[in-house]
């Protein structure tokens, strides 16, 4: 049979290439820990900008947190915000340049603790921007402290005996919160640790860019992700823990989606 004679060299040919690193990722090696979801979201975001051919119209805002250096990897114009202020920067940019695609890329501490006011009000004003929110339930960059989204009883370096709800309050479901606001047009929660999750996240980001182009309001995409270093697990253990613990509290799916135009 013909297929038995086929060699790797026959298959590894330019015309057979079905998946390659997008050219909108720079050649810099991600500084993220092995297995971290940031790299996947970075890649998917750049794939969308490449597919839509809007590199010259895309402006990204990097947060403070592990992805503070996101601009080292995304080959588009970017600005680095003060901690939590990314939606305010995005507002200033989008209002003065309404024809651009403007997005923020923020972690849970940045978006749901110190930047809560900027997040809520940008959503409430219905800024025509996209907010990409990475929720791993912990402060990764500063060494694994409690985040607003840290689960009950979950250990962190500032809750070494587990998060005590009486003392620390409940994990904040900010995505459910912003879904209540009329200014948001599209609110969804996704994952990137499985192939199906990555496909759906990519579709969500594509939707967000489409709605921005249609001036529908603010698109809010939460990605529930891992922090294997902060959680003190191997990457695959962390992804399993995510499915068993994070997803019951932060279930995936669309919370709000507009009718197609």
């Amino acid at each position: 049979m013909a297929e038995q004679q086929i060699t790797s060299e026959d298959i590894i040919q330019e015309e057979n290439l079905v998946f390659d690193r997008t050219s909108l990722l720079t050649d810099n090696v991600f500084h993220y820990c092995p297995g971290c979801g940031h790299g996947v979201v970075h890649r998917v975001l750049m794939e969308i900008i490449e597919e839509l051919d809007v590199q010259d119209k895309a402006i990204g805002i990097a947060p403070v947190g592990c992805s503070v250096l996101a601009y080292n990897y995304m080959d588009i114009d970017m600005q680095e915000a003060a901690h939590g202020r990314a939606p305010a920067l995005a507002t200033g940019i989008k209002r003065t340049m309404p024809d651009k695609y403007v997005f923020t890329y923020q972690g849970d501490g940045d978006l749901a603790a110190i930047g809560t006011a900027e997040t809520i009000h940008a959503c409430n004003r219905g800024e025509n921007i996209a907010i990409i929110f990475i929720n791993n339930g912990i402060y990764g960059m500063t060494g694994g402290q409690m985040a607003p989204t840290t689960l009950e009883k979950m250990k962190s370096s500032t809750t070494p005996y587990g998060r005590n709800i009486q003392q620390m309050g409940n994990p904040l479901k900010i995505t459910e919160l912003v879904a209540q606001l009329p200014g948001t047009c599209y609110v969804t929660r996704q994952v990137v640790h499985t192939p199906a999750g990555v496909r759906k996240t990519k579709r969500a980001i594509r939707n967000a860019f489409k709605y921005q182009q249609e001036e529908r309001g603010l698109s809010f995409i939460e990605v529930v992700s891992n922090c294997n270093s902060g959680w003190k697990m191997s990457p695959n253990q962390a992804n399993k823990w995510l499915e068993e613990n994070m997803l019951p509290y932060y279930p995936t799916g669309d919370l709000k989606k507009p009718e197609d135009k």
């Binding site: 119209k57 080959d75 600005q79 995005a90 940019i93 209002r95 340049m97």
Partner: protein
């Protein structure tokens, strides 16, 4: 001569920004400067020039909206008063660190804390010494009339873009609220995106194939690069100190004593010069127009001419420190001031001058 209008200082600022072709104003109300955003709102700048007007959820958000738009090469401004400026200091240090141009109006009221809504000059330190964390300076202009409130919008933007550095107009509640006649300038066009791309190649206007991506950031994790950047900033501030010092002198030529006062107190001090001269005291006035850069060299020169210098301020004595640094002990330097929202009278300043320098 251009059109004359009777305006509040706070209104003159807003009208000047529209006519200067500014791209955006982002602000948050606070007494005594809420007329700035109210005047903008009434004028509908979106209709007049396409200028963006937005009332933010806080001073912090407003300054960060400025940070974003300034990074895109836009001519943008915000305004506030002292407690609000304290909140904006975070954004200002990022803007200074990212080397972006923008204009900030501070209509100063008394503090600390919530303090008073009456005029004060007690934000001198937070204006000229940096204000937020890290080694940086704002360029600081001190208007003493409603006309200068108007004129310094153009000057402030020019300096901000020339040096890629935030400029603050340091006013106070008296100048913000008072009405005077103002000569209004012509309407200038706003810059097009193409003009911004050509003139400000660093701006985040969207990466085209013919250039590298633009990144606006104040972050540098490599210590040697960070120190190099710190030195670059210091060099910039030294250049500003060399080239951009502005001040006004009143009857300084033959002066034996010198008042130093800016803004509202400089207006009172003009009267003080007149009253003192009527009593035979040869008094002059140096009015710093730029507080950073401070007219250090000129004060140093005058330290060889006068017998004493009196810094008159509506604060507990802030500018007097810079006067003393400028003359470096060569002449006696004293302070007189009022606080709590009180504007000193010319007579009490004459008395203070006599008491401190002449005796009796």
């Amino acid at each position: 001569m251009g059109e004359l209008k009777l305006m509040k200082g706070n209104e003159a600022i807003a009208e000047a920004a529209i006519r200067e072709g500014a791209d955006g104003y982002f602000g948050y109300p606070i007494t005594p400067q809420s007329e700035v955003i109210e005047y903008f709102a009434a004028q509908q700048p979106e209709e007049r020039t396409g200028m963006v007007l937005l009332q933010a959820e806080s001073e912090i958000a407003a300054i960060n909206m400025i940070y974003g738009a300034a990074g895109a090469g836009k001519k943008v401004m915000t305004s506030s008063s002292s407690p609000g400026i304290s909140l904006k200091q975070e954004g200002l240090t990022y803007i200074a660190g990212a080397e972006l141009p923008c204009l900030i109006l501070n209509v100063v009221r008394g503090g600390p804390g919530l303090g008073t809504i009456q005029p004060s000059q007690s934000d001198y330190f937070q204006a000229v010494k940096g204000g937020g964390h890290g080694d940086y300076h704002l360029i600081v202009l001190a208007p003493s009339s409603v006309q200068e409130m108007y004129d310094f919008v153009e000057t402030g933007f020019d300096l901000a873009f020339k040096y890629r550095n935030p400029t603050m107009i340091l006013s106070d509640g008296a100048i913000g609220q008072m009405m005077e006649k103002v000569e209004i300038g012509e309407q200038k066009p706003r810059m097009t995106e193409q003009e911004i791309r050509e003139k400000y190649p660093w701006a985040t206007t969207g990466k085209t194939k013919d250039r590298e991506r633009n990144v606006i950031t104040s972050l540098e994790l490599d210590s040697s690069k960070m120190e190099k950047f710190n030195r670059k900033l210091i060099d910039k501030y030294r250049e500003i100190e060399e080239k951009e010092v502005r001040y006004e002198e009143i009857q300084v030529e033959d002066a034996e004593y010198l008042l130093i006062a800016y803004g509202t107190t400089s207006r009172i001090c003009e009267k003080v010069v007149q009253l003192a001269r009527e009593e035979g005291i040869k008094l002059g006035l140096l009015r710093p127009i730029t507080l950073f850069p401070f007219p250090k060299k000129r004060l140093d020169e005058l330290s060889g001419q006068v017998k004493g210098m009196l810094s008159v301020e509506m604060s507990a004595g802030q500018m007097v420190e810079d006067v003393r640094l400028a003359v470096n002990g060569k002449v006696q330097v004293e302070y007189y001031g009022r606080m709590g929202g009180i504007i000193p009278s010319a007579e009490e300043i004459v008395d203070a001058l006599k008491q401190k320098f002449i005796g009796g």
